[in-house]
């Protein structure tokens, strides 16, 4: 369940602990141990059921979500609409209370104010008081966070995000993309250790996206922990150290970005010259093909590593010369789509059975 975090037997026992025997003692031990374990966020079998009213059916938004985010890492939190991402954020902020499971933010229970003081949050649709200017929003954010006022720094922050003019302009006169950047600035203004960003690229033009990405890279370099939820998967791939894929309130896959993408070779192209015939494709994946010519090309679709080895050996045996081998990996979008399709298939199977 926690392959990367549960390194010691003690950690395993802490995370897989079930509330059966010595419950209070074990739970206290877990609470004490969480801050030392450098987790910024630790969610354990978190559940949330919305009960709109007595006349409407309850909706289960989270079904035992496990999630751990370590200090200093950038975590891409991905899922389809309605997967439970925003509910998770609301639980982290203490706006909602879980109906099952447990969660910690900086080693403290969810919603704890001391933990919230170390957090900056950008909601999916940032909304501010329309009569306040960008500068007044940042000043209010500082006051509410208990940070010292520093207008010069706040102005610089808006400048760096390309919206210096928003300092004195009421937020009701800002476009969606400009408001989004004011939102990022208010999340950063008190220099939090953790940034939770729900769709930070939403409504941004390409130039603004570049600025925001640069800013997020700088924050990562500065050691800040970032949890990023967005549907722009290329951005997640570029920015995240680790990625979690969530569907129907459960974490389907989680791991380092390069690990998630490494086992997913989409196509291998072998280019060469000299003698070659169709026999090289024997035992290769179905969609593979040989493109004759000089140089010729062999295209292997989603091959296993041993199939690539076998193909290369046959080419040499036939008297061909290999000029180059190029592998094309799946990008995050392809991994995401495949994972979600598999999850949907699994759900269908369960329903059928």
């Amino acid at each position: 369940m926690f392959p990367e975090t549960a390194r010691s037997p003690r950690a395993v026992s802490l995370f897989l602990m079930t509330p059966v025997r010595g419950q209070a003692k074990a739970r206290n031990e877990m609470r004490r141990s969480i801050p030392r374990m450098e987790y910024v966020i630790a969610l354990h079998r978190l559940e949330k059921v919305y009960k709109p009213s007595v006349f409407r059916r309850p909706v289960q938004a989270l079904r035992g979500l496990d999630l751990d985010v370590r200090a200093g890492e950038t975590y891409g939190f991905l899922g389809l609409n309605g997967a439970g991402k925003t509910t998770t954020f609301k639980l982290l902020l203490g706006l909602l209370r879980p109906t099952g499971g447990e969660g910690w933010l900086f080693g403290r229970p969810l919603g704890d104010r001391r933990a919230l003081a170390r957090l900056g949050f950008l909601p999916e649709l940032p909304a501010y008081y329309p009569y306040l200017s960008g500068g007044e929003v940042l000043r209010l954010a500082r006051d509410l966070s208990g940070a010292k006022r520093d207008d010069a720094r706040d102005k610089r922050l808006l400048d760096e995000l390309g919206i210096g003019f928003a300092w004195s302009r009421p937020t009701r006169r800002l476009s969606k993309g400009q408001l989004q950047r004011v939102g990022l600035a208010q999340a950063l203004v008190h220099e939090p250790e953790l940034l939770i960003l729900d769709e930070p690229m939403s409504g941004l033009d390409p130039l603004a996206r570049g600025l925001v990405k640069d800013r997020l890279r700088a924050e990562r370099e500065a050691g800040r922990t970032i949890v990023l939820s967005t549907h722009v998967l290329a951005d997640v791939e570029a920015l995240s150290d680790r990625i979690g894929l969530v569907s129907e309130g459960r974490l389907l896959r989680s791991g380092r970005t390069e690990e998630l993408l490494s086992g997913s070779v989409r196509e291998v192209r072998i280019e060469g010259s000299g003698a070659i015939n169709e026999d090289v494709l024997a035992g290769m994946p179905n969609e593979s093909l040989l493109v004759p010519g000089e140089p010729w090309r062999v295209l292997l679709q989603r091959p296993e590593p041993f199939q690539v080895d076998a193909c290369l050996r046959r080419i040499i045996q036939q008297g061909g010369t290999v000029l180059g081998v190029e592998s094309r990996r799946e990008d995050l979008e392809a991994v995401f789509v495949r994972t979600m399709e598999n999850a949907g298939q699994g759900e269908d199977d369960r329903c059928a059975s």
Binding site: L96, R113, P123, S145
Partner: protein, 256 residues
């Protein structure tokens, strides 16, 4: 304290930008018109009529502002989704409630002060004197508005804005008739009935303490103990409402 001050400032700015003080312009025109129309009919009681109309209007206008701004203070934050901005920070919900109340109360105080100045000007223009009892009456109206604002925020913490507005209006009307409960208590003999009436006397706001105009009309003013009781009662009742609102809001899930 800084958090409460920041929320209060923001609430006051919002009320000002919502042009709440425009109501005062209507008040001024109404007061001027009423004093011009009614004074000739009063046969030597022009000051009394002007004071009566003026103070009743200040109370009514102030309470309207308290009810119509107070009942949607919380709902607007939810509707506009600005609660994300507030509650993603280390803010206790009770701080939010007190900040909202103090912001609203600052605007109410400003309104009462301005309306009081207008009334004094109308009195002076009519050749009547102004004494301390007018200031006492305005202070009591302010306490009454504090109670109403706290009730509006309390009811808004657990119900919809429309219901909160209606219930607060009902509390205003019932509160001014709460003196009748004392008479009812004297006439009730059954222990159960007495218990119910006694309970209602404790729960419902005693706004009749603040509606008495005779001391100002006669120019005698209120005694120290009368004023003290009114201030202490208003402060305790208002604080209890706000504490309860803080507890309710802390326990409430804010699904946006």
């Amino acid at each position: 304290m800084r958090v409460v001050r920041a929320i209060a400032w923001n609430t006051a700015v919002e009320a000002l930008r919502d042009k709440v003080l425009y109501l005062l312009l209507f008040f001024g025109l109404f007061l001027f018109g009423a004093s011009r129309l009614l004074a000739p009919l009063a046969l030597g009681e022009a000051k009394r009529i002007t004071l009566d109309v003026g103070l009743s209007s200040i109370s009514a206008f102030g309470c309207l502002i308290a009810i119509f701004v107070g009942h949607q203070l919380i709902f607007r934050e939810v509707e506009r989704k600005t609660l994300y901005f507030l509650f993603s920070r280390p803010i206790h919900r009770a701080q939010f409630v007190w900040g909202k109340f103090l912001g609203l109360y600052a605007i109410l105080s400003l309104s009462v002060l301005l309306m009081g100045v207008m009334l004094a000007l109308v009195l002076l223009a009519g050749g009547h004197g102004v004494d301390l009892s007018l200031a006492q009456a305005l202070a009591l109206i302010l306490v009454e508005m504090g109670i109403l604002s706290a009730i509006a925020i309390l009811i808004a913490s657990f119900t919809s804005p429309i219901l909160a507005g209606l219930f607060t209006l009902a509390a205003y009307l019932i509160g001014h008739g709460s003196g009748d409960l004392t008479d009812l208590l004297a006439r009730t003999s059954s222990p159960v009935g007495r218990g119910v009436v006694e309970g209602l006397r404790w729960i419902l706001p005693r706004l009749d303490l603040y509606g008495e105009l005779l001391p100002v009309l006669t120019g005698t003013g209120w005694t120290g103990p009368q004023l003290g009781l009114a201030f202490v009662y208003g402060s305790v009742y208002g604080a209890a409402c706000l504490l309860l609102a803080g507890v309710i809001l802390t326990r409430r899930e804010l699904a946006l």
